[in-house]
């Protein structure tokens, strides 16, 4: 089965310090390397900040474009991975290993099977 790991990061009250930023980047970098060299990896990427998001809806043939992400929340989608895993437990194991789970939360969603 394929699962998408959606990494949500909390909107923080303060900017992380340069040192915090650096150690976090190193952690994500290390995880990224681990996952990409594993058999589970399908694809993945960090996303640009939610401030760069644009949302479009087509209603009655007209497209309505709004600034910002789909839902205004305290947490925003910061990146994702798609992984191949035999079970939810295996996908959970990968997600638990991802630093995103420590700094934010990770939603695990199976890709719907192709008809």
């Amino acid at each position: 089965m394929q699962y998408m790991l959606l990494i949500y990061v909390p909107e923080s009250d303060r900017e992380p310090t340069a040192a915090e930023m650096e150690s976090r980047m190193a952690e994500f970098g290390a995880f990224s390397e681990r996952i990409q060299t594993s058999k589970a990896y399908v694809d993945g990427s960090r996303l640009a900040p939610a401030t760069s998001a644009t949302t479009v809806r087509v209603r009655d043939g007209r497209s309505v474009i709004t600034d910002g992400p789909f839902a205004e929340t305290k947490e925003w989608l910061g990146g994702y991975y798609t992984v191949e895993a035999a079970s939810l437990d295996d996908a959970l194991k990968i997600a638990t290993d991802c630093p995103g789970a420590k700094y934010g939360s990770i939603e695990i969603r199976p890709l719907a099977s192709m008809g």
Binding site: M1, A85, A86, S87, L88, D89, L92, P110, S113, M114
Partner: protein, 417 residues
């Protein structure tokens, strides 16, 4: 005509004895509980058509399992989305076979299937209410209606909840397997939580006026026995079973003749079930020998000090306070702090108890009736009648069980006005 009825009766007996096991085996192979249940149903319907005509197969349970397996494969073939699943199933060696060539099911396999089903039903990725409902439905064999009634839920709502949770298991890829050793303890904890919640629902009956919903207690104990038998080296499992047996030993002593709930002190100890207490003592001893303490063992040890005291005045309250202290270290909670304070009051007097109660954490329990009831008890013992009465009234207002509320109002009234 009579012969026909006999055959039908024999098939019904087969179904009662074997269907649960067969569902567990198929669910494990296909990762889909609904599919497994439907296929087993189909197989029994087929049996009802064929066995009276062709005679009983040499191995009825194996015949059912193989027929159901073939039915499930047929169903998956008809559904386009089933193909991916079929590939997995093919790897699991459940290809169609002629029913009578089926091998006898092996016992270890059987235990693993049941365990796998328990672990899937209690998976932390499922909502707690859904876990409880599913466990009762699939493992305890309660009907949807019975579960709905036990939890004061509309039948349709409960049916919907069960459909949804089975779908989540299938779609999320929750496997019906015993977790690997490194994850066993954590997952076992989730299983214990569900079993203990079922027991507590039966034991305390959070709403309504039936004091003991015996069936829920009995099912929780049965499940725990099954788990202890299958995983004999898990001290927390033994602790959980011991804990429930200690509580359950008092089932006939908890209510007075008028149905009112009795305190431990008021209960007639000669009515406590000695066999249950003996079994629990032995389990607890076995668990402690593993030297891996945990919340269930500690709670069972506390229950043991109550259960084994010949009279209320013989209870080792210092020991109980110490065990609650230990429990507070590994699983701190306001309720544990409260119980520790109550034990201290018993050991060292109401003033010491009240002091412990005013300390760390207990005041967070403002919405918990037992906190106010315990405070009221201590205040009454210290002669602070007005404060005690007010605390009993607060407690009564918060109690959800009608009998408990009644009991607390009586206490308030006994302090005069």
């Amino acid at each position: 005509m009579r012969a026909w009825a006999d055959v039908e009766e024999r098939i019904a007996r087969c179904f009662r004895d074997d269907a649960g096991r067969a569902v567990a085996a198929l669910a494990r192979a296909f990762g889909d509980l609904t599919l497994a249940e439907d296929a087993i149903q189909d197989a029994y319907v087929t049996a009802l058509e064929r066995w009276p005509r062709d005679g009983f197969p040499p191995q009825p349970s194996a015949w059912i399992l193989t027929t159901a397996r073939n039915r499930a494969i047929d169903r998956l073939r008809r559904e386009r989305v089933g193909r991916e699943k079929l590939e997995r199933v093919a790897r699991l060696d459940v290809a169609p076979q002629p029913p009578d060539a089926a091998p006898e099911t092996d016992m270890t396999q059987d235990v693993d299937d049941r365990l796998g089903l328990i672990f899937a039903c209690c998976h932390p990725a499922l909502g707690v209410e859904a876990r409880i409902a599913l466990t009762l439905r699939t493992l305890a064999g309660l009907t949807t209606e019975e579960i709905a009634d036990a939890f004061l839920t509309a039948h349709a709502t409960m049916a919907q909840r069960l459909v949804r949770v089975k779908r989540k298991i299938r779609d999320a890829g929750i496997r019906f397997d015993v977790p690997p050793p490194e994850r066993l303890e954590e997952r076992l904890d989730d299983v214990c939580t569900v079993v203990y919640l079922i027991f507590n629902e039966g034991y305390t009956a959070t709403s309504g006026d039936r004091l003991v919903r015996t069936e829920l207690c009995a099912e929780a104990i049965r499940l725990a026995r099954l788990l202890v038998a299958a995983l004999p080296d898990e001290p927390e499992l033994m602790g959980l079973l011991a804990l429930m047996l200690f509580h359950d030993s008092r089932r006939n002593a908890r209510a007075g003749a008028d149905g009112r709930m009795l305190t431990l002190r008021e209960q007639d100890r000669s009515v406590w079930d000695r066999a249950s207490i003996g079994e629990a003592n032995a389990l607890l001893e076995r668990a402690i020998a593993h030297r891996r303490t945990g919340v269930y063992q500690l709670q069972a040890a506390i229950a043991a000090l109550h259960a084994n005291a010949p009279a209320p005045d013989d209870v080792d309250w210092l020991g109980i306070a110490a065990l609650y202290g230990r429990l507070a270290e590994i699983a701190p909670s306001p309720v544990v702090a409260l119980n520790r304070a109550v034990a201290i009051a018993q050991a060292d007097g109401p003033a010491a108890g009240l002091a412990a109660m005013n300390a760390a954490g207990v005041t967070e329990l403002d919405g918990y009736h037992l906190y106010h009831a315990a405070r009221a008890d201590l205040l009454a013992q210290l002669g602070r009648r007005a404060e005690a009465r007010a605390a009993y009234v607060t407690a009564a207002g918060l109690a959800r069980n009608e009998r408990e509320a009644e009991f607390l109002h009586e206490r308030a009234a006994s302090l005069g006005s």
